[in-house]
């Protein structure tokens, strides 16, 4: 706790003050605005100079990490080959389109019935503006990007336990919460109860700031009127001609709002990774993997299931099965190996690495996540509710309703992300059949959008623990696990190095995969050049 009796205020003590008075939401806001956030480790495309002396690198996995490594190593003069378990590039960079078929572990097969031009991104779906690495490759590979809407003020925040389960507009909860917090802080300031904390000069600044920040009236109160309606919207909007007088809207009562817990959801777009601007590839996230795959088509061998990874003083030998043609195991050899196989799977493959790396491989499980895509016959969220892209958050197991950030105002169908579940809810979703996942998602969604049942067309559900080639969503690192295993996960072990989001501090984000790959090949290259 900072010593509040010591003016002038330090930035830290201001945060502490704000945190104490206004709660952590506002503190977070304040901290974000003063740029306390971290930085990406991207230092530009690698410059791997020097004679690689004909060295070869075998890369396991054609996800974002594997293809980033392959692209850069090939450019630097290495002989590169990729083995990929699936019959397509991209890994978790993946979009499902109408006509696609997906079979999960347990055998359930789904035939995607989306109309042309619609898709579900079962994995990553957004690219923050500061994920410089992945954005660099989008530009390089000419993958067109468009805005991804994270925060939509007209979308909903929803709790089954508040306001009789009626969804609330984000802008109402956001404006009202901010307004009341500002009012409380202004009141404290005017009652001089902050005397010890802020100088008189700072008090004046704080009051002015609270009035502006919280849309308070001239008496520093947050209540129905022009100031608050300019944030939360009007009961009836200002118009033209003789029917132009607006009617202000009534804020939600402070006690109801606090009790509702809905304020928990209003900072979803305040995190460093969710601040605007975010992007998405036009036509689906999988466009990045496709473009990378086309660039590297000569070096990727698909349908190759790795069953053994061995190294000795001379090189690396990987045994694999061709899952399409069958037959006895085949072998691929190289001087070096970059293995991007998720450790959930790698922990089951014999590999000659030292005990420290093996322990790292064996001690990272993968988090659960589930996404459900729902196609509706019409875009009722746009037509009935004026929601164009963005996200609704609910306290139900589906967690998220993501509206399509493309094809706005079109008359045809639309695909919603009906569920994006994590944690216990995702484990429970994973234990259901795809049909049950969809049925439950429709049930939850109906609480927010009553149109769901009438307008539902078809859906697809992907539970990451049922995905045959990952057994989970992403490395579930904890601080304690990182302390113990992270460095060994990333170290060069003889001739083998691991890469992927699991070997990064940006888990589950594609940027983590890119930065991990770039760091791995830099260190590998140094080793090769050193001879």
């Amino acid at each position: 706790m900072a010593d509040l009796s010591q003016p002038p205020m330090t930035r830290r003590s201001l945060f502490t003050l704000i945190g104490t008075v206004a709660g952590s939401a506002m503190m977070y806001e304040a901290m974000s605005s003063l740029a306390y956030a971290g930085e990406s480790g991207y230092a530009g495309p690698p410059n791997l100079t020097g004679d690689v002396k004909g060295a070869s690198v075998l890369i396991l996995g054609s996800g974002i990490a594997g293809m980033t490594a392959a692209y850069e190593l090939r450019k630097a003069g290495y002989k590169v080959q990729i083995l990929e378990y699936q019959d397509r590039p991209g890994g978790r960079n993946w979009s499902l389109y109408g006509g696609d078929t997906y079979t999960e572990l347990g055998g359930a097969t789904q035939h995607v019935g989306f109309d042309k031009g619609h898709y579900l991104n079962p994995g990553p779906w957004r690219l923050p503006y500061h994920h410089y690495g992945i954005l660099h490759y989008c530009k390089l590979l000419k993958v067109p990007l468009e805005p991804f809407i994270q925060t939509n003020y007209n979308a909903y925040v929803h709790s089954t336990k508040a306001f009789d389960g009626k969804p609330q507009r984000y802008r109402h909860v956001q404006a009202d919460f901010q307004g009341y917090v500002a009012e409380l802080l202004a009141k404290s300031t005017r009652q001089s109860s902050l005397d010890q904390a802020v100088t008189p000069e700072d008090q004046a600044i704080l009051l002015d700031a609270m009035r502006q920040w919280g849309a308070l009236d001239k008496n520093y109160e947050y209540k129905m009127g022009e100031a608050s309606s300019d944030r939360r919207g009007y009961e009836s909007d200002p118009g033209g001609g003789l029917t132009s007088v607006p009617t202000p809207s009534q804020p939600i009562g402070m006690k109801d709002l606090m009790k509702s817990g809905l304020w928990r959801a209003i900072a979803a777009g305040s995190g460093y990774e969710t601040q605007q601007t975010l992007f998405q590839p036009v036509g689906g996230m999988g466009m990045i993997g496709k473009a990378f795959g086309a660039e590297l088509k000569e070096v990727i061998k698909y349908n190759a299931k790795v069953i053994d990874i061995r190294q000795d003083a001379k090189g690396v030998t990987v045994s694999y099965l061709d899952t399409k043609t069958g037959g006895p195991p085949m072998q691929a050899k190289a001087d070096w190996c970059i293995c991007t196989i998720p450790v959930s799977i790698l922990s089951q493959i014999p590999i000659t690495v030292g005990a420290p790396m093996q322990a790292a491989i064996d001690n990272l499980s993968y988090s659960a996540s589930v996404k459900v895509g729902l196609q509706f016959k019409r875009r009722f969220w746009e037509q009935d509710e004026d929601i164009y892209g963005g996200i609704t958050y609910t306290d139900q197991p589906n967690g998220t309703i993501g509206y399509p950030n493309y094809n706005y105002f079109s008359d045809g169908k639309g695909v919603i992300l009906g569920a994006y579940a994590f944690g216990p809810a995702a484990f429970e979703y994973s234990a259901m059949s795809p049909e049950e996942r969809i049925a439950n998602t429709l049930e939850y969604g109906s609480k927010v959008h009553p149109q769901y049942m009438k307008e539902f067309d078809n859906g697809v559900a992907v539970a990451w623990h049922r995905v045959p080639w990952t057994l989970g969503c992403a490395g579930a690192w904890t601080e304690a696990l990182r302390e113990k295993y992270y460095d060994n996960m990333c170290a060069l072990d003889g001739r083998i190095m691991l890469a992927g989001e699991h070997a990064s501090r940006i888990p589950a984000w594609q940027e983590g995969a890119v930065l991990s790959a770039l760091d791995a090949i830099r260190r590998l290259h140094q080793r090769v050049i050193a001879g």
Binding site: R264, D395, F422, P424, E428, P468, T470, T478, E479, K484
Partner: protein, 134 residues
Amino acid sequence: MLKISTRYLALIGAGLVATAGSAQAQGFRAGYSEQTGEAIYTGICQGCHMPDAKGAQGAGAYPALAGDKRLASSAYAALVVIKGRKAMPAFGGSFSDQQIANVVNYVRSHFGNGYTDTLTPEAVKALRPAIAAP
């Protein structure tokens, strides 16, 4: 998921403050409401081990629990549930001693597994300190 990194929370993108075990917006719960062994198995475990407990095979595999000789030891089964093992996540932080005992007893007496001895919640509790925090 006892301690979740800030990056992970940002990924999840909804929670403002990291409440223990929270992964999502608005009072996201940390534990499971399923209580009986059957409810826990069908509600959670079968996501990977499958409804028939025979596991599954892709690029990697989920082991079958049906006929798994290692289940002869109820302590072994409980330890794997509590601590996790390789791709298997740890559930010690989200299940109570009673829930762990119930699901272990259920799996050891179903799917063709015929073990008749039962694991008590007290025995589960005694196992917990033996597990070094990762």
